[in-house]
C-alpha cells in the first residue's frame, strides 16, 4: 500500500533544505522498495519546524521537524512511514498549541492539501463560495460581503463591500479585478504562503469578485521576489482554465472571467494601489492623485476593483458559510479573522490567524513564546516598514484597526516584527527614512526630498550636532511628510520615526557618528 508523505514546497521550507529532504525521502523509499507518494504541500506556518515532514497514518498525520536533509535516512530507519517515535516527532501538527489555538478561516487548507490538486481543493470545501455566488447574483454577493464586515487586509482597512458596490454600480464595457499581491512589507508573508499553499482559494475569490462587479478580466500583480508564488499561481490558473472554471463560461455559467499573473520588478511603492495600476499599464510605478478612485477610473481608465490577496481570499468562506459566521469573530469595527505574521527575533515565528482582539503582548509573549535569542524584547514593529515601533508598555493594545490608530500606529498587513534589547532605535528610525528615500516614486516632494533630509537630520542628531534643534526639525519634517505626501510611503514613514523618538528617546542622545556603507 502506498504511503503519503508531505514535504512542504513553500519557499521558506525550501530555503532551509526542503527540496533535498524530499529527494532524500524518495531515495530512501526506493532503496527500501517502499511505495511512497510525496506531496509538496504548503507550509503550516510554524517556521521553526521547517522542514516539517508529515506522514499519513491511521492515527492521522504525524509530523517531524525541523528535519534537515542529513537526518532523513535516520528518520526513515526509525520508522517514518509508520509514524514511529523519533526525537523530532511532534505528533499531530493540528494538536500543536501554536496551530490548535488559531481560528483558521482563510488558511484552513494551507499546509494541509496538495496546493495544485483540484480534487484536494474541492474535497476540503473548495468552490462552495463560487457555487453560492452563482446562485446569488451580483447584488446579493456584494450585500453578503458588506454584511460580513470585511475590511481591506492590505492595510488601509476600507470596507470591502462598499468598494465592491462602487465598481458594481460603475457603468463601463470593460471592468477589471486586480489582486494586489505586491506584499513588500518586511515581516509579512501571508500572501506568499497563501498563493503557494492554496492558490485555488485566491482564484475562487477573484472569480466571485468578477461576478459581483461585472469585471471580466483579472490580474494578480505580485513580486519578482516571490518566484515560488508566481509559479504556483500560474500553474493553478492553467488547471482552472482546463477545468472550465476560468474563461468564457465560468463553471458552465454565462459569466466570463479571464485571469493572469503579472510580475513587478522590485519597486516597493508598487504595493500602493495606484502605483500598481500604473505599473500594470507598463509605466513607471508612480502614485496617482485621488480622485478619481480606481473604482471609477482604474486600470487603463476603467472601473477597477483592487483588493489585497487576503481580502479576496476571505470571500469564499463568507459566501459558503454565510456573512454572520465571519462577522461573529472580532471586536468593534474589526470583524472576522486576521492572518497575523510573527517575525523577527521570536521563538514561534509564523502565520497566526485569529479573531481581532488578541493583544500585542499575547501575540509576542504567549503565542510567539518571546524571543528566539532569549534576550528581552525591546521593541515591536507592527504593520511593516511604515508601521510604528511599540514598546513593552503598550503590549496591552488589542489587535484592532482603531485601537492601533489610537496608539499612534497601524496594523497594516498584519506583520509583527520583534526586536531584542540590542536594537538601536535611532538606527531603525534612520533606516525607515533611508528605505523611503530608496523606494520613493519621486512624484511628490515631501517623500522624495523629505526622506533624504530626514536621514541627514538623524545622522546629525546621532553625531551630537545641535541635538535639540535637529530633533525639533525632524519632528517638523515628519509632520510635513505625514500631511503633505501623496501616498502612504511618504505619509506613513513618520510612524516608525516618530514612535522610535517618542518611546525610545534615550537612543537619540549624542554619540560618535556611525560609519555605514552608502546605499
Amino acid at each position: 500500500m502506498s504511503v503519503r508523505v508531505f514535504v512542504p514546497g513553500d519557499m521558506a521550507a525550501v530555503a532551509v533544505g526542503a527540496d533535498a529532504v524530499a529527494a532524500a525521502v524518495a531515495s530512501e523509499a526506493r532503496r527500501l522498495g517502499r511505495n511512497v507518494e510525496i506531496v509538496r504541500n504548503g507550509s503550516r506556518g510554524l517556521f521553526e519546524l521547517e522542514t516539517l515532514v508529515e506522514v499519513e497514518t491511521p492515527a492521522g498525520r504525524i509530523g517531524y521537524g525541523p528535519i534537515y536533509p542529513n537526518e532523513v535516512a535516520g528518520l526513515v530507519a526509525a520508522g517514518l512511514f509508520e509514524g514511529a517515535d523519533h526525537p523530532k516527532r511532534v505528533g499531530r501538527p493540528e494538536d500543536l498549541p501554536f496551530l490548535k489555538r488559531q481560528t483558521r478561516l482563510t488558511f484552513a487548507r494551507c499546509g494541509v492539501i496538495d496546493p495544485q490538486s483540484l480534487d484536494d481543493y474541492r474535497d476540503h470545501g473548495g468552490w462552495k463560495g463560487l457555487e453560492r455566488a452563482l446562485a446569488l447574483g451580483p447584488e446579493a454577493i456584494v450585500d453578503a460581503v458588506k454584511a460580513s464586515g470585511l475590511r481591506g487586509r492590505g492595510g488601509a482597512g476600507f470596507p470591502t463591500g462598499i468598494k465592491w458596490d462602487t465598481v458594481r454600480l460603475a457603468n463601463a464595457r470593460q471592468k477589471y479585478v486586480v489582486c494586489n499581491a505586491d506584499e513588500g512589507d518586511s515581516g509579512t508573508f501571508a500572501d506568499r504562503m497563501l498563493m503557494e499553499g492554496d492558490p485555488f482559494l485566491l482564484i475562487e475569490g477573484m472569480i466571485v469578485a468578477g461576478i459581483a462587479t461585472g469585471a471580466t478580466r483579472g490580474y494578480i500583480y505580485t513580486r519578482s521576489e516571490y518566484p515560488f508564488a508566481i509559479d504556483a499561481m500560474q500553474q493553478a490558473i492553467e488547471t482552472a482554465y482546463a477545468a472550465g472554471l476560468l474563461g468564457s463560461s465560468v463553471a458552465g455559467s454565462s459569466y466570463t472571467f479571464d485571469l493572469s499573473v503579472r510580475v513587478g520588478a522590485g519597486a516597493y511603492v508598487c504595493g500602493e494601489e495606484t502605483a500598481l495600476l500604473d505599473s500594470l499599464e507598463g509605466k513607471r510605478g508612480q502614485v496617482r492623485a485621488k480622485p478619481p478612485l480606481p473604482a471609477h477610473a482604474g486600470l487603463f481608465g476603467r472601473p477597477t476593483l483592487i483588493n489585497n490577496v487576503l481580502s479576496l481570499a476571505a470571500v469564499p468562506f463568507i459566501l459558503a458559510e454565510g456573512p454572520e459566521s465571519y462577522r461573529d469573530f472580532g471586536m468593534g469595527r474589526s470583524r472576522g479573522t486576521m492572518p497575523i505574521q510573527l517575525a523577527g527575533d521570536i521563538r514561534n515565528g509564523g502565520l497566526y490567524e485569529t479573531a481581532f482582539g488578541v493583544t500585542l503582548g499575547e501575540l509576542v509573549e504567549e503565542i510567539g513564546g518571546g524571543t528566539l535569542s532569549g534576550r528581552p524584547v525591546r521593541a515591536v514593529q507592527v504593520g511593516g516598514p511604515l508601521g510604528a515601533y511599540f514598546p513593552r508598555a503598550l503590549f496591552d493594545t488589542p489587535f484592532d484597526y482603531e485601537a492601533f490608530t489610537e496608539r499612534g500606529g497601524l496594523i497594516g498587513h498584519g506583520g509583527v516584527v520583534v526586536f531584542n534589547d540590542t536594537v538601536d532605535m535611532a538606527q531603525q528610525a534612520r533606516f525607515a527614512l533611508e528605505f523611503c528615500a530608496i523606494e520613493s516614486c519621486g512624484k511628490c516632494t515631501p517623500c522624495r526630498i523629505g526622506s533624504t533630509r530626514g536621514v541627514e537630520t538623524v545622522d546629525k542628531i546621532a553625531a551630537g550636532e545641535r541635538p535639540a534643534e535637529n530633533l525639533a526639525l525632524l519632528e517638523d519634517l515628519c509632520e510635513t511628510m505625514k500631511f503633505g505626501s501623496l501616498c502612504a510611503l511618504g505619509g506613513f514613514t513618520p510612524y516608525p520615526v516618530m514612535s522610535a523618538l517618542t518611546h525610545f528617546p534615550e537612543d537619540f542622545g549624542a554619540r560618535q557618528p556611525r560609519l555605514e556603507p552608502a546605499e
Partner: protein
C-alpha cells in the same frame, strides 16, 4: 540558470513579438529581454519603443525606475541579501557585513573578475526564518555569518 546570451537584434525582436499583443506589455517584455540577455541592453530600447509605439525616453524611464532591471549584466552569480527589518532583527546586518567582507565589494557591487554580484533585496517573505538571501534565484534562510561567507565564496551553492 542558463548563462545570458550576447546581444542579438533578431532574438530581441522575437521576444518582443511574443509579448507585445497583451495589455500593458512593457514590463513582461523587459523581463523577457533581461532573462535572455542578463540585462536590458541599450540596443533593445528603440526596438521596444517602436513595437509599443511609445518614445525611447518612456522605455528608458521604465527601465531605470525599477530596481530589477539592469543596463549591464550582473556577475555570473548573484547573491541578494535581505536588508529589511525582520532580517535586521535576526542579525541580518552582521550577516551582510560578513558576506561583503568575504566578497570584497560593497552592496550592489560586482567582483573585479565578474564572478559575483552582491545586492540588497528588501524582503523575501522569509521573515520568520531570516536572515534570508536569494542565491541565483534559490532561497536560503537561517543564515549566520559563517554561512553567508561560505555562500559568497560559492561553497554552499
Amino acid at each position: 540558470m542558463s548563462p545570458p546570451r550576447p546581444w542579438n537584434a533578431e532574438v530581441a525582436r522575437s521576444l518582443i513579438d511574443a509579448e507585445e499583443s497583451q495589455e500593458g506589455a512593457l514590463l513582461p517584455i523587459l523581463h523577457r529581454l533581461q532573462h535572455a540577455f542578463g540585462c536590458v541592453p541599450d540596443e533593445a530600447v528603440p526596438l521596444v519603443a517602436e513595437a509599443l509605439n511609445i518614445s525611447r525616453a518612456e522605455v528608458h524611464g521604465v527601465v531605470t525606475f525599477y530596481h530589477d532591471f539592469r543596463r549591464q549584466p550582473a556577475g555570473r552569480r548573484v547573491v541578494k541579501l535581505c536588508q529589511a527589518e525582520a532580517c535586521q532583527a535576526r542579525g541580518g546586518r552582521a550577516v551582510t557585513a560578513a558576506a561583503l567582507a568575504e566578497a570584497g565589494v560593497a552592496l550592489g557591487g560586482t567582483t573585479a573578475d565578474g564572478e559575483l554580484t552582491v545586492e540588497a533585496v528588501y524582503c523575501l517573505g522569509l521573515c520568520a526564518s531570516g536572515p534570508a538571501a536569494l542565491v541565483d534565484g534559490q532561497p536560503v534562510a537561517r543564515l549566520n555569518e559563517a554561512g553567508a561567507a561560505a555562500l559568497v565564496s560559492g561553497e554552499m551553492a
